[in-house]
């Protein structure tokens, strides 16, 4: 999920990003690790915390007269859903466009399709569309309209294929009908074709990957009206660095099916205005006008909420959450769907020695990090994925904080006076890592307590990934926010093959992940992912530190939408209350 523009250092780079859950896991996320927040009940459900604020009375007059203003960390970049991959653009497009399937917490639920089924090999996906759904331009939704969208994407030309515009399409489908060599996409597209029959539509793929059916809930793959597709058919993006076509910046060209319609987008005052779509097929939106306004500085966002200039904002700083709660504001807790880890690059001695890696893992007090730095609702991680994903294993190797044991193990491994370089990113904050500097300070202070001398190496974010990926940093902090409920989205991207990023060669881990990723049968796939997790934690390539939800805040007199671990809030549920 691409970062949205982050004007100032403390602004969070991106929302958690588009994601939906492959709901194969029966219960909505099994009970996570017992750690979690000290003062919450033992059975706190980290994946999808229940809503406890009931149904306050709505202030109808105000809902129609006053716009609901929501502060965002960055501007959206494009109104064409396929041409974007940053959280802020998804937030706006989610209110205006719909996808075939939707996500409720981390479960896949019907969207535009009432129901769906797959064939044995997972290469044929048939969707049964809802009755009587119309686009904002009046056209009716049917199988043909869905196929027109899929065909349009598959046959994208030139700049449309460049990853900085259509990252998600090429990640999910591999490539396009004819890959343009200049855009550097070599993989062959797994999209075979689309067959429409009235309200039924079947998508056929060349091979199954565990991205499906989750991929069908991605905001990028939202369905727009056939007339819109024809209207923009000749728009062109000649090269990767040419500007986005004009239609993506002006309101009114593309018609979606969502609860809101786009009213205006004023770039200079960084303001997007949406109005209620009265012909919506589902529950009509409660507030007539919703405005998204950019405030890049997180402190400024909180002050704007407290002063009443805005009625809600996302990515609240952990330190602000508590003072807002004390002042009567609402900070509903989202489910966790990301992971922060400390990587051990085994190409640097003595990290190739398992005992040393274990010792370091025992030395770090992850409890303190979760309790004092991360937002409420965070938990200490035990493995390289959040609990709500299929294949989350209960019996992986765990390393609870024990400073003495760490010191002892370091001595046994002959690494008493170990000196090691520890990299961390500056000028950025990520949902899984709200305050990199503070987390770094705590970990290095713990390591120093265990006798390890830490040499700090701060690196600017734009250079951080290439440096860490090239194996230059022995220890480094990094993490990931799930795009959609697909274990490969976590384990696959890190441990599918040997890499300089981790510097270890463990064929058992690579095979476990490969087999799990291609197993179409849901039940067997869950066990395969469990074994993969256990194999990874046995190898201990790094120490999973925490999973924590980004905080979202609302004014006291507002009924918040259902918050989602995939930051997929639907603002049509919001309304002004008469205020208790």
């Amino acid at each position: 999920m691409r970062t949205s523009p982050t004007p100032i250092r403390r602004a969070l780079a991106a929302a958690a990003g588009a994601a939906m859950a492959l709901g194969l896991l029966a219960a909505c996320g099994s009970d996570g690790e017992s750690g979690g927040d000290a003062d919450t009940a033992e059975d706190f459900d980290f994946s999808c915390p229940e809503r406890t604020d009931g149904e306050p009375a709505a202030d109808a007059a105000r809902n129609d007269s006053q716009p609901f203003v929501f502060g965002t960390p960055g501007d959206p970049t494009s109104l064409d859903p396929i041409l974007a991959s940053d959280g802020e653009t998804f937030r706006v497009n989610r209110q205006v466009f719909d996808t075939l399937l939707d996500a409720d917490c981390t479960d896949t639920v019907p969207g535009l399709a009432e129901s769906y089924e797959q064939n044995e090999e997972g290469t044929e996906w048939t969707f049964h569309l809802r009755e009587g759904v119309t686009f904002h331009d009046g056209q009716a939704l049917d199988g043909a309209a869905v196929c027109k969208n899929f065909e349009r994407w598959a046959n994208f030309k030139a700049g449309y294929q460049s990853p900085n515009f259509t990252y998600y399409y090429s990640s999910v489908f591999g490539g396009f009908a004819e890959n343009d060599p200049a855009m550097g996409i070599e993989a062959e597209s797994i999209y075979k074709g689309c067959a429409a029959d009235g309200l039924d539509v079947t998508i056929s793929l060349s091979k199954y990957t565990s991205s499906f059916p989750g991929a069908f809930t991605l905001e990028s793959l939202s369905i727009i009206s056939p007339a819109s597709i024809d209207a923009v058919a000749d728009a062109a993006i000649p090269t990767a660095d040419s500007p986005l076509p004009e239609y993506t910046q002006t309101v009114g060209t593309l018609a979606g099916t969502g609860p809101y319609k786009l009213e205006s987008w004023d770039h200079s005052s960084q303001e997007v205005v949406l109005t209620r779509n009265d012909e919506y097929f589902g529950e009509p939106a409660k507030v007539k006008t919703v405005i998204f306004k950019t405030i890049s500085d997180e402190t400024a966002r909180r002050q704007a909420l407290e002063a009443g200039d805005i009625h809600g904002y996302d990515l609240a700083a952990p330190a602000d959450a508590q003072s807002l709660l004390d002042a009567g504001y609402q900070v509903p807790v989202r489910g966790v769907f990301n992971l922060l880890y400390l990587a051990y690059t085994q190409s640097h001695a003595p990290l190739e020695d398992h005992a040393v890696r274990e010792a370091l893992s025992y030395a770090i007090d992850r409890e303190r990090i979760v309790n004092s730095v991360l937002p409420a609702g965070g938990m200490v991680a035990t493995q390289f994925m959040p609990p709500s994903l299929e294949g989350y294993s209960e019996d992986v190797a765990t390393y609870d904080y024990d400073a003495e044991k760490a010191k002892q193990m370091l001595a046994d491994a002959g690494a008493e006076d170990l000196s090691i370089t520890f990299c961390y990113p500056t000028d950025v904050t990520r949902p899984y890592m709200p305050a990199p500097k503070d987390i770094f300070d705590m970990i290095s202070s713990d390591l120093q307590a265990a006798g390890v001398t830490v040499e700090a190496k701060p690196i600017t974010w734009v250079d951080y990934i290439p440096t860490t990926r090239s194996g230059e940093c022995p220890l480094y902090l990094l993490g990931w926010t799930g795009d959609f409920a697909d274990p490969y989205n976590f384990l696959g991207t890190w441990f599918a093959t040997e890499s300089t990023e981790w510097g270890f060669d463990n064929q058992e881990v690579f095979d476990a992940i490969a087999t799990a990723n291609t197993e179409p049968d849901q039940a067997t796939r869950v066990d395969l992912w469990k074994t993969a997790n256990e194999a990874v934690m046995e190898e201990l390539p790094g120490l999973p530190i925490s999973s924590s939800p980004p905080s979202i805040a609302f004014a006291p007199d507002v009924y918040p939408p259902d918050v989602s671990p995939l930051t997929r809030e639907d603002f049509s549920q919001v309304y002004f209350t008469t205020g208790s």
């Binding site: 900085n164 500007p243 200039d309 290439p466």
Partner: protein, 335 residues
């Protein structure tokens, strides 16, 4: 007068061209490319390479600079890599916010600075002089982001007299002419918008004006002290003119010469402060734009910005030179 200014302009534009080449090579040499911001952490190396190649970042610096120059000649600034939007439009949208903020800050600095400077000069050596000068110096000593935040916490949050963020209340519909909200409001007759814009401008302008205020107080004081000692002021007194005439036509008109030049130069220095003030008040000006462009290695945006600032700087220098001629007849006639 004209010949001298044209010569200086030519020299400056050659230097600016040299500068843009230097900066282009310098930014290209910095580690990390824009593709690392455009793609998420988990994008594969292969995707990163593909994007680098597609963006033409792997070509030698000279060819890239050549392309960039060819574009500039056609006034095509290219598109920003992070937002994918043409830079010319992006700059055009962001510039008015910073210009309006800087002008408001300069208005406060001049409006307060000159009278204070005059007072300090007239009551030289007394505690009034000391407290005025030290008070204005204190303004420069407070880090501007801290001053902006404190002003906001006290006046906007605790007392609620003024709004905390944005240039206008969210959702206010206004007709945009130049992008300067107050000015647009006035000329289109939407006085409520103009007033709303003014209320949003007060706190950030005060924070930003703390830097130029001290300089203007000091320059005015020194300049008035200088002029008061001149013989023609004594002649004016000898004529028995009213004190107001002596102060206005004789003292201040001569004292304004150095002050006018300083005001011109100070406009340039407001930019650094604008970056910080804009972020605290979410003004979305050019300051935050350049910060983001640099952190994301958005080369086209950076180059576009540098050219705008360079032209801005050249224009200010020109205005300062010309205004000198206007204010001081000796310069105008002799050159």
């Amino acid at each position: 007068m004209l010949r001298y200014t044209v010569k200086r302009l030519l020299q400056l534009s050659v230097a600016l061209l040299g500068l843009s080449l230097l900066l282009f090579a310098w930014f290209k040499a910095l580690p990390g490319g824009p593709e690392n911001r455009l793609l998420p952490e988990n994008a594969t190396d292969q995707q990163r390479e593909a994007l680098r190649a597609a963006l033409g970042l792997d070509e030698p610096v000279w060819t890239q600079y050549g392309e960039f120059l060819a574009r500039i000649v056609r006034l095509d600034f290219g598109s920003s890599l992070s937002s994918g939007r043409p830079i010319a439009t992006e700059l055009a949208e962001r510039l008015p916010a910073t210009v309006e903020l800087s002008l408001a800050a300069m208005l406060i600095a001049v409006g307060l600075g000159i009278p204070l400077g005059y007072l300090a000069a007239k009551r030289r050596g007394t505690w009034v002089d000391f407290s005025t000068v030290s008070g204005s110096l204190l303004g420069t000593c407070i880090p501007i982001f801290f001053l902006a935040a404190m002003l906001k916490v006290v006046f906007a949050q605790e007392l609620g007299w003024l709004p905390t963020t944005f240039r206008l209340t969210a959702g206010a519909d206004f007709t945009e002419v130049t992008g300067l909200r107050v000015f647009d409001g006035l000329i289109t007759g939407e006085l409520d918008i103009a007033w709303d814009a003014v209320r949003h401008l007060i706190l950030p302008a005060i924070a930003l004006s703390s830097i130029p205020l001290a300089v203007i107080v000091r320059i005015t004081r020194a300049s008035v002290l200088d002029v008061v000692g001149e013989d023609y002021v004594r002649t004016a007194d000898a004529k028995g003119l009213k004190p107001a005439t002596v102060r206005g036509r004789h003292v201040m008109r001569n004292a304004m010469l150095p002050i006018a030049t300083i005001i011109g130069l100070l406009l340039g220095s407001l930019f650094a402060g604008a970056v910080l003030t804009e972020s605290v008040f979410a003004f979305g000006g050019i300051g935050s734009f350049v910060y983001q462009a640099t952190t994301e290695r958005d080369y086209p945006a950076l180059m576009g910005f540098i050219l705008v600032i360079a032209v801005f700087y050249v224009v200010i220098n020109l205005i300062v030179d010309l205004s000198y001629g206007l204010l001081d007849p000796r310069v105008r006639v002799r050159k």
